[in-house]
């Protein structure tokens, strides 16, 4: 879902750029207060995992592929502001070094895949967790739904940006983006749950780190 340069108009580039810059600044401020020593390797591994996992496009219906975003995984393990930081680091590296996602579109990509995906996953996971109870099974169910929804909501944000930019009418781009990402989100849900369950069974202490 990396938007290249050219899809967004100047107003959208500036607006998403300002919002994302503010989001990143706030994330750093909060992380500065809350980060503990144990967070350090976890942040490194999650960034490495998301980069590698995003290279692995899996096929979905109709000659289309998808890859994980990863914000939901970070949000579940470390909290939404940690997701904003990690996704920003990954997206900036992808844009600058790997020419994946436009330089001017960075703000929009950080907003969609960091802010929208991270916060939606975090709150859906928390609300579902409180409804379902505190078992490992309910954690995994909540994780799946949160990860799936985070992809769908990020794609809706992306569609709105494309429509506001005049690139494609909302009535066309919104159902198209939401439809294909409802499928891609299933992959996000499965991979997120797989990683959370591995962490639960091998290093359950890491799920008790303070959320950022």
């Amino acid at each position: 879902m990396h938007i290249p340069d050219g899809f967004l108009n100047t107003a959208t580039v500036v607006t998403t750029g300002v919002v994302s810059a503010g989001g990143v600044a706030n994330a750093v401020r909060i992380a500065n207060k809350k980060l503990g020593e144990k967070h350090i390797p976890m942040m490194g591994i999650l960034a490495a995992f998301i980069f590698a996992a995003q290279m692995l496009n899996f096929p979905v219906a109709g000659g289309t592929s998808g890859h994980v975003i990863g914000a939901a995984l970070v949000a579940i393990l470390l909290g939404p502001w940690a997701a904003v930081i990690i996704m920003s680091v990954v997206l900036i590296a992808q844009s600058l070094i790997f020419q994946d996602g436009g330089l001017l579109a960075l703000g929009a990509n950080i907003f969609n895949m960091g802010v929208v995906a991270g916060f939606s996953a975090y709150y859906i996971y928390r609300i579902m967790g409180s409804l379902l109870g505190d078992s490992n099974r309910s954690r995994l169910v909540a994780g799946f739904v949160a990860a799936w929804a985070s992809v769908l909501l990020a794609s809706i944000a992306c569609a709105i940006e494309l429509a506001v930019s005049g690139t494609s009418p909302l009535s066309v781009v919104l159902p198209a983006m939401a439809g294909v990402h409802a499928l891609i989100g299933i992959g996000e849900g499965l991979i997120t749950v797989a990683v959370v369950s591995v962490v639960l069974s091998t290093r359950a202490d890491l799920l008790k780190l303070q959320r950022i």
């Binding site: 879902m1 938007i3 290249p4 340069d5 050219g6 899809f7 992380a31 500065n32 207060k33 980060l35 503990g36 020593e37 144990k38 350090i40 942040m43 490194g44 591994i45 960034a47 490495a48 995992f49 980069f51 590698a52 996992a53 290279m55 692995l56 496009n57 899996f58 096929p59 979905v60 109709g62 000659g63 289309t64 592929s65 998808g66 890859h67 930081i85 680091v89 990954v90 590296a93 992808q94 070094i97 790997f98 020419q99 994946d100 436009g102 330089l103 794609s155 992306c158 494309l162 690139t167 494609s168 066309v172 781009v173 198209a176 983006m177 294909v180 990402h181 891609i184 091998t202 290093r203």
Partner: protein
């Protein structure tokens, strides 16, 4: 299993994922496919510069090898940047460091 060993296994697993990246689907992703179908893919601009464009390390004939190399570089780089940045953000705290 010691904590250090767990992190090393986790990083090795990430490198393994990068190693199998040539097996990834080459179909367009969700946004690209929508852009093709809805006729706005041509509005995408060229990047002003290229370093390891599209996850293929330049100058290597074998594309699978070039992709794996790009994947390893990116994976290790992202680990180092996120680790270093987190350490830096934490170290610049005014008060007493907590666990």
């Amino acid at each position: 299993m010691s904590n250090k060993k767990w992190w090393l296994i986790a990083l090795a697993f990430c490198l393994l994922l990068a190693t199998i990246s040539p097996l990834a689907s080459s179909s367009p992703d969700g946004l690209e496919k929508v852009a093709e179908d809805k006729g706005f893919i041509e509005t995408a601009g060229e990047a002003p510069f290229e370093i390891i464009a599209d996850y293929v390390f330049p100058g290597i004939e074998n594309e699978a090898v070039a992709t794996i190399l790009a994947g390893w570089i990116g994976t290790l780089l992202l680990f180092a940047i996120a680790y270093g940045l987190t350490w830096l953000i934490r170290s610049r705290r005014g008060g007493v460091a907590t666990q």
